[in-house]
Symmetry: C2
């Protein structure tokens, strides 16, 4: 058994450790009013509209994208219209009134002497929101009606046990805080909460406690951040393989609480497939199984599955045992181009039917494909020439319609020979039976890259009167097509009705495939020119899109969760008895409702 | 969408349909005091001890097994000692007192006019027990302290809704009854239940409602019996692939309620992997999701996972949506022989690590191997000669020790070429790195066959003063070895202390493999010669074995469930908070505790 600590040479964000959050350090590393690292930002040259990406973290950081502006211009992004954030400092201090339970704090100091506690307004705001566009909007242009009153940074499961016991005893509300990347409003505080609200940030609980190579499991503290954990495991030849889009910031505890899904789930599984054991501190005690590391068990309703998706309503997740795999010898990328979305979708269905998915396989629709293409960085004349040859071949020789063309991006992991064979098999299936063309590794890598910068792009839009967001669902195979078609049509109609000045951008991609269905991501972006309350209009359109998704057979969420933003759809999602059961669990473990975030039901 | 009905040309048992249970038909088909079909029974020739198997259902039905008696004789089975069942008719009528809630029955008749209801003592006894050795013992030599008061046979989800609503209203206790194959005492009635107890048998709810080839899912009524369902699906080119040992009798609803595991889970998954949707009638309403067939969802704690393992305590499972696969082109068997259990176990670990398991792969220890060998039917002189050549090769040339030799049996499903490649890869791994020898298809088939007759063998023992039973667990990989070793040692010591007259038979097999661990089955058999209360002694030894299993890191159960027989171990299994959560669910859906079977917690 090795004991290793997660270590990263660079400070990378609010979840890295508590010091990174406190005071000025944070400001140097992450945006206060947008997604991601402060050093990374899309910027537009006001003279020619050429967009560039700052920083050096990503594949295309430091590059210029001359084709992006022409693409987004038709949706109403205007280089001459800037919509900067209002003064954020003022907001922080405006929110600084706080409810402090002094006798609780006194007992807390006695019980956990070295506990770091902060009432700094910036830290409190940081712990009181996630990253939906509504929340970023509030940061940039609005305000929060209630934020947490203090933030604490415990360092162990045992400290959390003491804290929760005291909070329950003194009537203090508790909000567990992981990476803050939630997109379900799960961190927004109840404006009517009269009690002190205490955020328990798990950022100091970021150790890998044990590595067991016989069972291929690791025990980790719940505050481990995805990319850090992966790096630590990589240093001993292992991989977790869990890569949600947020993995640079999101934590193990957050994944569990949200039912996270990773891009490479076809090899590594979603979080429910990775989770072997868990410790959750609830007001009635710590939930944990008595026999450790059991692979599969018949002992009544699965308690792990009751914690998965609990969205901070039951307790604080402090530790987890997760499966790991040997780090793969090779990681490669590939792509395929199809003349139509229908062809691509039939291909995806067949791949799932045969269960021959690579680590990741995703189908982009035409709009996504064009967006992806517009994100090609400035390149040499020779490369431009090569591209035009390829374009000639695809459009003229193969007669693909540029308005219908779509793409599949793939990532492979395994031995060198296996990944090569796998890619060749998929390429041959696509070309022989589904009218596909092999698109090469470059497009595959760009598809992957797009994932990590899509949130930066969204916030770039906010600087130019353009509001954008993604929302996702899961759908049985026989309804994927209709859910996408009807939802796009609904959004277009609603945008028109709402008086959106320009054509809105609505696109879809199939991001995960299962035996019986698939996950679908929508991207919606629109100019808010002339709108009275842009974020309200956007929210209304998204809600109606969700109604449409569910009406045609899609789910409430594939992996974003419910929180408060999708709570109104829970009746339909799990029925009244399902809701009662979730409420029953909540009442059982938290009879005084100290985990009062109001998520789920 | 096709609508097909499960149909079988032969009456095969109590779950086939209600008429098969009523009156004389049942007596013709299933044993009243033992496992399985009445036409199938091991019998010993009193003169030479040669054992034969009656009937024609199984591979070796109608065959004689000259090597079995010599093998079991050393454990104390004596051809001259017979221990026949006591008069079972008398017991049935002894148990015939019943508590009838007349006003409930009157309302019930009004609400569900054509409902078949029986107060026949035989049907009532049948619905009040499962198939542990303790229950078979009670049938043969003892009695039940409480049985259900009536049995009803609804035909649809809607009928069950009416029935449960009335039962809740009139204070009638309800016991859902599937195939009756439970081995956790989950069907035993609470002796202190003063209310009328009504068994709801789902045997008439055995239709396949819809088949969807695009999503590859079927919607079935919960009373569908495994082998019937498989046959129905096979007729349209599909397979469910779920084959628990009980599948000739057990039902879809029972699988869900028990968290069943099937032999071929490596391809098809366990029941939790197969289940896509469910309908459960609880006293507060029907639990069901509003969007059908969702492949994966983040909507809080998973309600399907709260029903899985609920053991009849929450409601009546009436319908389910299950995944299906295309029926495989080829089904083949293989086997490997290893010089020691340790070698075999290392091989199993490596196969799981590489995730190259065939449909089924199981490792038998030396005792199981010898038992399997002793079950070879009488054969030709030529075949005997061939066997002795093979024996010579294995024991003399390869120098395998007959007291240590063990075997792996495998079943493969897929295309002809894939299964051949797969077997060849596993054979080559075993022989090149784990000292294995290829054992051929015959042994593989015999291993498979043993599964289905092991319960018949147990009940054969009961006729000859020999009490036997299996129990199972799941264990992390690093503890499989110690759990098996320590449990065997504990059982041997406890048998000695209990004064067992002959050497007991205690053996183990690894029946399933997972990423992080394996499932282990133990078989324990012992002569009860001279024992005062054989079944009590046996139960005590099994309980202590379970303690030992859990002390060394094994679970409360891999797939048999908890019921009442393992309830005492739930504290250790899921902890006090876990138990509270399960109780919380129970209280929520069944506030008046009409599903009063007392299982789980």
């Amino acid at each position: 058994m090795n004991r290793i600590n997660v270590f990263s040479s660079q400070v990378i964000g609010p979840t890295k450790d508590a010091d990174a959050i406190a005071g000025s350090t944070k400001i140097k590393t992450v945006h206060e009013d947008a997604w991601g690292y402060k050093d990374t930002q899309f910027k537009m040259n006001p003279s020619d509209g050429c967009v560039s990406l700052s920083g050096d973290r990503y594949l295309y950081s430091g590059k210029r994208f001359p084709n992006l502006y022409p693409f987004i211009q038709k949706y109403g992004v205007d280089k001459d219209i800037a919509t900067p954030a209002k003064n954020i400092e003022a907001k922080f201090f405006d929110s600084s009134k706080s409810t402090i339970n002094e006798s609780f704090l006194e007992s807390l100091r006695g019980a956990v002497p070295n506990l770091r506690l902060s009432v700094d307004p910036k830290e409190r705001v940081m712990a009181s929101h996630g990253h939906t566009v509504q929340e970023i909007w509030a940061l940039r242009f609005g305000k929060f009606s209630r934020i947490v009153d203090a933030v604490i940074y415990p360092e162990s499961h045992e400290e959390v046990e003491k804290i929760v016991r005291l909070a329950d005893q003194f009537g203090v509300a508790v909000l567990p805080y992981g990476g803050g990347t939630t997109v379900s409003h799960s961190l927004l505080c109840n404006p009517n909460e009269k009690r002190m609200i205490l955020a328990i940030a798990v950022s100091r609980m970021n150790s890998v406690l044990t590595v067991n190579r016989e069972t291929m499991c690791v025990r980790v503290q719940a505050g481990c951040v995805g990319s850090h954990l992966e790096k630590a495991l990589g240093s001993v030849g292992l991989t977790l393989g869990h890569e949600p889009d947020s993995w640079e910031f999101s934590t193990v505890g957050g994944w569990i609480a949200t039912r996270a899904s990773g891009m490479k789930k076809n090899i590594y599984g979603n979080i429910e497939d990775l989770l072997v054991d868990v410790k959750v501190v609830t007001p009635i005690g710590t939930l944990t199984r008595g026999t450790e590391g059991i692979p599969r068990m018949s002992a009544g309703p699965d308690i792990l599955q009751m914690v998965l998706g609990s969205e901070g309503s039951f307790g604080v997740i402090t530790e987890a045992v997760l499966k790991v795999r040997p780090a793969p010898e090779a990681k490669t990328f590939g792509s395929l181009v199809f003349p139509s979305f229908e062809d691509g979708l039939r291909f995806m269905r067949e791949v799932a039917r045969r269960r021959i998915q690579p680590a990741s396989i995703r189908l982009m629709d035409n709009t996504q494909f064009l967006l992806g293409s517009s994100l090609k960085p400035e390149q040499s004349i020779f490369q431009n020439f090569l591209d035009s040859v390829i374009r000639f071949y695809v459009l003229r020789v193969k007669k693909f319609d540029p308005e219908n063309i779509c793409a599949v991006t793939m990532s492979f992991e395994g031995t060198k020979s296996d990944v090569a064979k796998h890619e060749s098999m998929l390429n041959s299936l696509a070309t022989s039976q589904f009218n596909g063309l092999v698109g090469g590794a470059g497009n595959g890598i760009r598809g992957y890259f797009l994932t990590f910068v899509i949130a930066y792009l969204r916030d770039f839009g906010l600087q130019h009167q353009f509001i954008a967001e993604s929302f996702e669902t899961s759908v049985p195979w026989d309804k994927v097509d209709i859910v996408i078609r009807e939802t796009k049509a609904q959004v277009l109609a609603d945008c028109k009705a709402a008086g959106i000045a320009h054509e809105p951008m609505i696109s879809a991609r199939v991001t995960q495939t299962y035996d019986s269905g698939a996950a679908v991501y929508f991207y919606l972006g629109m100019s808010w020119k002339g709108l009275n309350d842009p974020v309200a209009t956007y929210s209304q359109i998204e809600d109606r899109a969700r109604e449409c998704v569910m009406k045609h057979g899609g789910s409430i969420s594939h992996h974003h969760g419910v929180g408060k933003i999708r709570k109104q759809f829970m009746d339909q999602a799990v029925g009244s008895v399902g809701k009662a059961m979730i409420k029953g669990l909540k009442t059982t473990v938290d009879p005084r409702n100290i985990f009062s975030n109001g998520n789920l039901v």
